[in-house]
């Protein structure tokens, strides 16, 4: 990529030799002009993204309360968190939520992409429907799930009892493990489209003659998938998975709307706990310390996707 660029710019230099003033001025201005073009975006991102990121790390070392300035307290926020059993429960919840949800999103999203990767009538229409859960505001679909998980009036309980499969209503959100499963299912529901549409784009770039050649050699569907499809989409799959991992790990909306971290803190994640401590609780320092536990995972995800993005190029 870079090489091509230099060849091109060398060419354009050659073309314009009769107009030396233009070349020199153009080359002179390029850096200045470039910075002028990038300046507004950079200014916004530096003030409202990079500065808060650093401020957040600092706040984690202070006892700041809402609207006030705090004192530096060293690692005391962290040491009190690490000795708090609630914090360890939240850590467990967050990892469980992320691992299980991302795994199923990946498997089901990939499966749906493979199913959709063929010609059929209404392909565009089906693809549009598939993206809907991703488009509609999470809070609003969370409201629908919330009512679907009602302990008394749930439609799922109704149909299970009517069909004789169960005798009792399911207490979806009152029991710790049920609540975890319920939220994970809702998260999977919302995340499948991202995997499907992303992977579908990757699948469509695979040359069909590869499959034809494999068929002639007697390869079955599984072998074709395992030996052709999978290796070719791995880089894209890695990028999509790391994106989804960081979003799931730092999730807030779904959990806050449906359970607020309950029952008995069984569904509290880093995001919801830090919100609870910081906004209704007013403890900015402690809240920041909790959300800073997301940073290592973020860093890891950035590294992994960077590696694969480079390889793609």
């Amino acid at each position: 990529m870079e090489k091509k660029e230099t060849i091109r710019s060398a060419e354009s230099k050659g073309n314009g030799q009769g107009r030396k003033w233009q070349i020199s001025e153009f080359l002179e201005n390029r850096t200045i002009l470039g910075f002028i073009f990038v300046a507004p975006a950079l200014a916004i991102l530096l003030t409202f993204l990079l500065y808060p990121l650093i401020l957040g790390i600092w706040l984690g070392f202070t006892d700041t309360l809402v609207g006030g300035t705090g004192e530096f307290v060293g690692f005391s926020n962290y040491s009190s968190l690490l000795t708090d059993r609630l914090f360890w429960l939240v850590t467990y919840n967050t990892f469980l939520y992320t691992v299980v949800a991302v795994f199923f999103k990946l498997v089901l999203g990939f499966l749906l992409a493979v199913i959709l990767n063929r010609e059929f009538r209404a392909k565009g229409f089906v693809r549009a429907i598939v993206l809907l859960p991703w488009i509609i505001p999470t809070v609003l679909s969370a409201i629908a799930f919330w009512w679907l998980y009602d302990s008394t009036f749930s439609a799922i309980s109704w149909i299970l009892i009517k069909s004789g499969l169960m005798h009792h209503r399911i207490d979806f959100l009152g029991d710790p493990n049920n609540a975890r499963i319920s939220l994970i299912v809702a998260n999977i529901w919302r995340g499948i489209p991202f995997f499907t549409i992303g992977l579908l784009a990757g699948l469509q770039t695979i040359n069909p003659t590869l499959y034809e050649a494999a068929e002639i050699d007697g390869a079955g569907p599984w072998k074709k998938f395992h030996r052709i499809t999978l290796p070719l989409v791995v880089p894209l799959l890695a990028v999509i998975t790391t994106f989804s991992t960081i979003w799931t790990f730092a999730d807030f909306q779904l959990v806050w709307v449906v359970t607020k971290g309950g029952p008995a803190n069984a569904t509290h994640l880093f995001g919801t706990l830090s919100f609870q401590r910081a906004i209704p609780g007013g403890h900015f320092g402690e809240g920041a310390a909790i959300s800073n536990f997301i940073l290592p995972i973020l860093f890891l995800c950035v590294l992994i996707s960077y590696k694969y993005l480079r390889r793609e190029e």
């Binding site: 710019s9 107009r19 153009f26 390029r30 850096t31 002009l33 470039g34 002028i36 073009f37 990038v38 507004p40 975006a41 950079l42 916004i44 991102l45 990121l53 401020l55 957040g56 700041t64 609207g67 199913i115 089906v126 693809r127 549009a128 429907i129 598939v130 859960p133 488009i135 509609i136 505001p137 999470t138 809070v139 609003l140 679909s141 409201i143 629908a144 799930f145 679907l148 009036f153 439609a155 109704w158 499948i192 992303g198 579908l200 990757g202 990028v239 960081i246 790990f249 730092a250 807030f252 909306q253 995001g271 830090s274 919100f275 910081a278 906004i279 900015f284 997301i294 973020l298 960077y306």
Partner: protein, 278 residues
């Protein structure tokens, strides 16, 4: 290649139907709940999957008893303003990085891309502290200021991909004819990338329409709330849930996004996949 109907049924239609039911059911559930009366909602004897007694009472309650219209207006206001700000900044930045190729443009481009990955969950507390200092607490302007932090990275990346597809020769020809860079940008690049700018704007609009955490953290008075926050905080008071109006609100607030989306779905898919492929 010519497979029988039976194979197609088991390998394609049945799995696809299963997925579509799973993905669409929550919307169906939202839809029918919005048009049921309370008496029907809380009657366990009735089949919950169909509407027995169609009513628009929930929507009327939503408009009469809450500030729903006001929340919709707020959400529109913030979404449009932050989209315009972000789109302008991203257009310039994407052109600068993709076409001017100045010293440091590469790292800046990568930096902007990865800043999209920083989740709001990490940023909302320090941002709350900043908003407080700026005396913008409980003001819609706080959200207009903050939303570009996730809109700009996304739009810049999308537009960079779009600019890549415009042949360099067009610019070079114009410059040989004596046009300045800025003129080229304004007269050639902008008109040529209008479809890209358009789909980018749609993305930005839906992203800010959907935002929840910042709006929940920075806004506390009822008339200043956005739709997602207003619905969940005002229609659930303690243990009292107004399911009917809640669903009617969720349905109505999804409509603008769904409409925008259905008209421009091709742009949307192309944008998403384009952004991923980069």
């Amino acid at each position: 290649m010519h497979e029988g109907f039976r194979i197609r049924l088991f390998r394609f239609y049945i799995p696809l139907a299963f997925f579509l039911i799973f993905l669409l059911f929550p919307f169906y559930w939202m839809f029918i709940t919005a048009f049921k009366s309370d008496a029907e909602l809380y009657n366990l004897k009735l089949n919950p999957f169909i509407i027995h007694d169609f009513t628009i009472h929930n929507a009327i309650r939503l408009f009469k008893e809450t500030l729903f219209v006001r929340w919709m207006y707020n959400t529109f206001f913030i979404a449009i303003l932050s989209t315009v700000v972000s789109l302008t900044a991203s257009l310039l930045a994407a052109y600068g990085i993709q076409r001017l190729r100045f010293k440091g443009s590469g790292p800046i481009g990568i930096g902007i891309f990865f800043s999209y990955l920083i989740p709001p969950t990490i940023l909302f507390i320090p941002l709350a502290a900043i908003i407080f200092k700026l005396r913008l607490w409980d003001s819609l302007w706080s959200l207009v200021l903050v939303y570009p932090t996730f809109l700009i990275p996304f739009c810049t990346w999308l537009l960079m991909g779009y600019f890549k597809s415009i042949p360099k020769e067009m610019e070079e020809c114009a410059m040989i004819d004596g046009a300045s860079r800025i003129r080229v940008f304004w007269k050639i690049i902008i008109p040529l990338s209008l479809p890209g700018i358009f789909s980018c704007g749609i993305f930005a609009f839906t992203l800010s329409w959907n935002e929840y955490l910042y709006a929940l953290a920075f806004i506390s008075s009822t008339p200043s709330k956005t739709v997602p926050v207003g619905l969940v905080t005002e229609l659930v008071r303690g243990d009292v849930y107004h399911w009917g109006p809640l669903m009617a609100g969720a349905l109505l607030a999804s409509v603008p996004v769904a409409l925008v989306y259905s008209f421009f779905v091709e742009h949307y898919v192309a944008g998403l996949t384009g952004a991923l492929k980069e």
